[in-house]
């Protein structure tokens, strides 16, 4: 079955197929259609939609629901995402699975409601306090907003971690055809750790506090080992990279622009390809290194260079320090989107250097 829906609506569809039972949210443009869809569809399936009093409440309601062993989610945009950072740290600290969708708008501050990718660092590195990470996925179409929301629930449950679905306002508003999943995911069993209000879970304790420094360090080491293992689920997509002399790197909406730019460059006789991280954390470092080794790299992004810096960091960590120093960037901010012709020009300029 296919549906022609906004990316934001596709998120709700994916969440329902993934078995998400509770939605907690506070409206904010350009993410509000997710709340609208949840309010419309969750009750139809006997599931729970709660309009919270603020984003701080949303994320802490999720802490309670996840602690009680149920799959739950929220969706927001920049200012609301900022308010949720403390809660995300608590979720990570208590190792609770939950999904937050951030439909990015332009910032800082109130900014505006047009697309930006300026939330990269908090969404990918963990924007709250302490040594934690989140599992971050970057869809680039309405289909992926459905599919990756499902995947986010699966990864959140697998790794007992909050997962972020990171998109931008344009993708949220854009309608595309979505092929709905064949099957619904059965509810996972969290009874070994969750507080479910039944005899079997009476001894369970959900917490992020370790008053003893040695215990807290031990827990931190456990978390870091878990995050290292998450690398097995790192994903990337490449396009026309095999013979490329220049590889365009972008995620989400920027990866789509990169695709058109690569085609345009090829039409002009320049062998260009695209590397697109699908998971931003864990970052597909090995895949990046394979895709760009010995080639020029141009990052495309809708921010001040947060993503390009991460490309440089990952190249350096992969032992490609010289290439890291040579990464160029074409970008826009404030709600403006990189134009294909501007990126084509930037690619040519980078190759000519």
């Amino acid at each position: 079955m296919t549906q022609f829906v906004k990316g934001n609506e596709a998120v709700v569809m994916g969440a329902l197929y993934a078995g998400c039972e509770l939605y907690f949210g506070y409206p904010i443009t350009p993410a509000s259609e997710i709340a609208h869809g949840a309010a419309k569809w969750f009750p139809m399936l006997g599931r729970t939609f709660v309009q919270a009093e603020c984003e701080t409440a949303s994320i802490n309601m999720m802490f309670g629901a996840a602690g009680a062993g149920k799959l739950c989610m929220t969706a927001t945009s920049g200012p609301g995402f900022s308010l949720m950072q403390e809660g995300l740290s608590y979720l990570a600290g208590a190792e609770l699975p939950a999904v937050v969708v951030d439909v990015m708008r332009a910032g800082p501050g109130l900014g505006n409601v047009y697309p930006e990718q300026g939330d990269y660092t908090p969404a990918v590195k963990g924007g709250g306090h302490g040594n934690y990470q989140v599992f971050t996925l970057a869809p680039a179409s309405a289909q992926e907003m459905c599919d990756f929301t499902m995947l986010a629930f699966a990864m959140a449950a697998k790794w007992r971690t909050p997962a972020i679905v990171l998109v931008d306002g344009l993708q949220g508003q854009m309608m595309e055809t979505v092929e709905l999943p064949e099957n619904e995911t059965p509810a996972p069993d969290f009874s070994s750790w969750a507080a479910e209000g039944v005899a079997a879970t009476r001894g369970n304790l959900v917490k992020s506090i370790y008053l003893d420094a040695a215990q807290q360090e031990e827990f931190n080491i456990h978390l870091q080992e878990k995050y290292a293992r998450m690398q097995e689920d790192a994903r990337a997509e490449t396009y026309l990279c095999e013979d490329a002399e220049l590889v365009l790197c972008g995620y989400g909406i920027s990866s789509r622009i990169a695709r058109t730019v690569a085609e345009e460059l090829r039409a002009q006789g320049i062998a260009a390809g695209v590397f697109r991280p699908v998971t931003l954390n864990p970052f597909p470092r090995a895949q990046l290194a394979d895709a760009v080794r010995g080639r020029k790299v141009l990052a495309i992004e809708l921010d001040a260079g947060q993503f390009a810096d991460d490309i440089r960091l990952n190249l350096a960590k992969a032992g490609l320090g010289a290439q890291a120093a040579d990464v160029a960037m074409v970008h826009r901010m404030g709600g403006e989107v990189v134009a294909v012709e501007d990126a084509v020009a930037a690619a040519k300029a980078h190759l000519a250097k």
């Binding site: 296919t2 509770l22 309670g64 009680a68 306002g169 854009m174 879970t201 304790l205 917490k207 992020s208």
Partner: protein, 491 residues
């Protein structure tokens, strides 16, 4: 030595990690210790330990999970009521109890507690008021008495600088939803017995699935009062009770609780446990709302016409209310019916309130890359500002269709065709002034601007009136009339 069993508490407190297995972390004379005992007793005596989920605060009460033998969730500072909302919604069969202090609930988390009470969430909130921040070091809380000395009111709380004490029960008593609101004290034996009965009631209300309960408990904090235990208890009775009188503000425990119903709860009744499902599966739900599906083998659909061989980008613009967005959707839907890749997006946000509306559509035989339509192949304009804004960006070889009412002060770029169409006038002439967008769709058809089959455009037009079926035939008719009229003009 014989260990005395304490009902509802663990036999020993290994989570506490003190050398003596039965030592608590509370200071001598602290009200929390008494309340902890009463809560544990009520939970055990009512046989609710298996069903209970405690939501613990940040503050001195954070470690109740050392003692109470039931499941625990340790929330963020101030957020126990929000977390308890999540717990109660996730596990309506559980007995959910939030335990909070006066900094936690009265200051940072006041709105979360207040809104949960206002919604009538199905949990009980046990709220310890000791007039200051205990664990953090005796700072002023919203409940600090006038003149009371704390570490952040070293000269005594001055209402001129810091306002007056916050009366949580009295504020919450303005709300409709709560079932039970009371203030008790644990400063002496008589008061402790009253507190015990009230705590039991909070559990019973949750056991019976009734609704929200707020129990404020005045408690001494000898350490931060800088008093011995007896003097601290006296302070509770003599000073705190003067500001915070004890009593039951509301007791609706005789009323019925929430049902498994989607109907709105009556005043003073509990929230519905959860909505009654109307569909059994996602597939059932979404097939009920699905639009037209592309026929199997749709690529062959336009047999006889050349299938769209290259990507086409469209921009539709005009005033809000002219049907600009649905015109774009029709083209996207027609492409979908031919199993082509397509996308549609509107101008959104404050832009949509300013009078002008626009949307972009991309149609392609291949996966679509960049979604933005910076240089449309086809621009449809129904007002002057849109023409002025977008006409110069049209691709060479492209097409601009404008309504005849739009003055064309400046020709489009070289190599771009301009077609003026009396869409608004024709719609009025046909007696359907709102259908100017249908006239434009006819113009797109006559100009062969979409690369899509005429039948697909017509079917998409009809599908766009799915929710107003009485308009389908009328629009189909005027679509044909308009197309014929425009063809005659051309000829």
């Amino acid at each position: 030595m014989k260990t005395i069993e304490q009902k509802g508490m663990y036999r020993e407190f290994p989570r506490c990690g003190k050398p003596h297995a039965r030592t608590t972390h509370y200071c001598p004379g602290c009200g929390h210790g008494i309340v902890n005992k009463l809560v544990a007793e009520a939970c055990a005596e009512l046989g609710l330990q298996d069903r209970t989920i405690f939501v613990d605060p940040v503050g001195c009460g954070v470690f109740t999970y050392y003692y109470w033998d039931a499941a625990h969730i340790s929330a963020a500072h101030g957020r126990a009521s929000a977390a308890a909302t999540g717990v109660a919604r996730a596990r309506p069969g559980a007995v959910t109890i939030a335990y909070q202090g006066d900094g936690d609930l009265g200051a940072i988390g006041f709105n979360n507690a207040f809104q949960a009470a206002s919604r009538g969430e199905r949990f009980g909130c046990i709220f310890i008021n000791n007039s200051l921040y205990g664990m953090t070091g005796g700072q002023m809380a919203p409940t600090t008495l006038e003149g009371e000395t704390t570490t952040t009111t070293p000269y005594g709380r001055d209402p001129a600088l810091t306002g007056h004490p916050l009366h949580v029960c009295e504020v919450f008593n303005q709300l409709q939803a709560p079932f039970y609101i009371a203030r008790v004290s644990v400063a002496d034996t008589k008061r402790i017995m009253q507190a015990k009965a009230a705590i039991r009631k909070v559990f019973e209300l949750q056991r019976d699935g009734k609704g929200y309960a707020m129990l404020e408990i005045l408690a001494p904090c000898p350490t931060n009062f800088r008093m011995d235990a007896q003097k601290a208890a006296r302070f509770c009775i003599d000073e705190m009770e003067r500001e915070f009188p004890l009593g039951v503000f509301r007791d609706r425990s005789a009323q019925a609780g929430g049902e498994e119903s989607a109907a709105a709860p009556a005043q003073g009744s509990a929230l519905a446990v959860r909505p009654v499902p109307r569909f059994n599966s996602c597939a059932e739900l979404f097939s009920a709302s699905a639009g037209a599906q592309a026929a199997d083998g749709a690529p062959e659909r336009g047999a006889g016409m050349a299938r769209l061989s290259k990507e086409l980008r469209f921009k539709f613009a005009g005033y809000g209310g002219q049907g600009i967005l649905s015109l774009g959707l029709c083209v996207a839907e027609a492409a979908r019916l031919e199993n082509l890749h397509t996308l549609w997006f509107p101008s959104y946000g404050p832009e949509q309130r300013g009078g002008s509306a626009s949307c972009s559509v991309v149609v392609s035989p291949q996966r679509i890359g960049a979604p933005s339509v910076e240089h449309p192949d086809v621009l449809v304009c129904m007002n002057q500002p849109s023409y002025e804004r977008f006409a110069a960006d049209v691709k060479p070889g492209g097409l601009v269709i404008v309504d005849e009412t739009v003055p064309v002060a400046k020709e489009p770029p070289e190599g771009v065709r301009l077609r003026r169409v009396p869409a608004i006038a024709m719609a009025e002439e046909f007696g359907v002034p709102k259908a100017a967008n249908t006239m434009m769709l006819a113009a797109l058809k006559v100009c062969k601007a979409t690369g899509l089959a005429d039948a697909s455009l017509e079917e998409a037009l009809c599908a766009s009136f799915k929710k107003k079926p009485q308009l389908i035939e009328k629009n189909r008719e005027i679509f044909h009339r308009a197309a014929k009229a425009l063809e005659n003009r051309n000829a």
